[in-house]
Symmetry: C2
Subunit: 219 residues, 2 copies
């Protein structure tokens, strides 16, 4: 009943089955690794106030001075934010209620000079206040658009290379950075980034200067 | 040389190997499913302004009226936010610069009455402005703490059941909800939520009333 040939067949079949299973195991193991790598959300949360620190080394990489400013040269939430912005290679969308921080303005200017396509949406009321950096950036050749409504353009977000969203409570002002309790969330999540890009493009179109009506016709 | 017993041994060994592999395949398959389920970030982005809508059905679930207020009964970013808050079962941490929206205050009050442990951190300047809901919530028995600093407590975040973070540019005011360009990000990400809880607890301790120094001793 138990002929040798049956064992032979069974042995070969089982061996093939085992080898097949092994391939599946390897494929699944790779799938898990790939899935883990792809899905891991690269999230970073920064809290403020941040103590004043020297950020010259970030802004003048060609001239890495032993800066004599007297400020600490430690890492801070501001330097972390600047590093994220400075990682931009192609495009930077900025949608900012208030933008008066000289350090962040110099960061954006540096990116513009490196050839990054920077677009900035500002709030019409706050872009004109004392200390605002919006005029300087516009003069430097960065495209700026703003509302002409009574409501505030109160967003404070940035999109880096269409892949990273930077959003939170922080207005880009020195007061907010150094004095307030604030948060910034930096997130690499395709669906979230897509939603913010859609919002940016929608506002960008709505604030097209050709649609401005500073002198609306009388009825 | 090729004895039947060898085939028998080989067959049995291969069969066991195949069965073992199968278990590994099943385990890995479950691991992938579990991993996918655990890691999928439940993210939602809400944009404002939101058109005024009737939210009575959310706030009075026991009396689902055909409300006669005349407002549209459609879904809006505000109703989506309220729904997320109303999903709270155990704890709600609120860290809000400005809180004057009657609808959001009623939402929080409803949760408090349902037995949710609500804690609210407010900004000392804005908690006292006209229309602020902080006093009402405190009188209703909700624990409130605030700063006594010159800088703003400018956060606008909420943590639902220690698992969901709600954060963005939106102050909880009717002006912001109905008039401004604003965003809210709702995220279920353990590491991000943990960072915000840590920030909340740190501020909660710092703003402990026993540490208030309203009349600091003269030097």
């Amino acid at each position: 009943m138990w002929a040798p040939v049956s064992w032979k067949a069974l042995g070969l079949a089982s061996l093939l089955l085992a080898l097949g299973m092994e391939s599946v195991v390897l494929l699944l193991a790779f799938a898990i690794r790939g899935r883990g790598r792809r899905r891991r959300p690269a999230a970073e949360v920064l809290f403020f106030p941040a103590p004043p620190t020297c950020t010259e080394a970030l802004l003048r990489p060609s001239r890495p001075l032993p800066c004599a400013c007297g400020l600490p040269h430690a890492e801070s939430s501001l330097s972390r934010l600047m590093l994220r912005l400075l990682s931009t290679r192609e495009s930077l969308e900025l949608c900012l209620f208030s933008f008066s921080s000289p350090q962040l303005a110099r960061t954006v200017l540096l990116l513009h000079r490196r050839g990054v396509r920077v677009r900035l949406i500002a709030d019409s009321d706050y872009m004109a206040v004392k200390g605002s950096q919006v005029g300087m950036l516009r003069k430097a050749g960065i495209a700026v658009r703003h509302d002409q409504h009574s409501g505030y353009m109160h967003h404070k977000f940035a999109v880096v290379d269409k892949t990273i969203i930077i959003t939170g409570s922080l207005n880009w002002t020195t007061q907010a950075i150094q004095t307030n309790r604030e948060n910034i969330l930096i997130l690499e999540d395709a669906a979230v980034v897509k939603a913010f890009i859609k919002e940016f493009e929608s506002i960008w179109q709505e604030y097209d200067p050709t649609n401005y009506e500073f002198f609306p016709a009388k009825k």
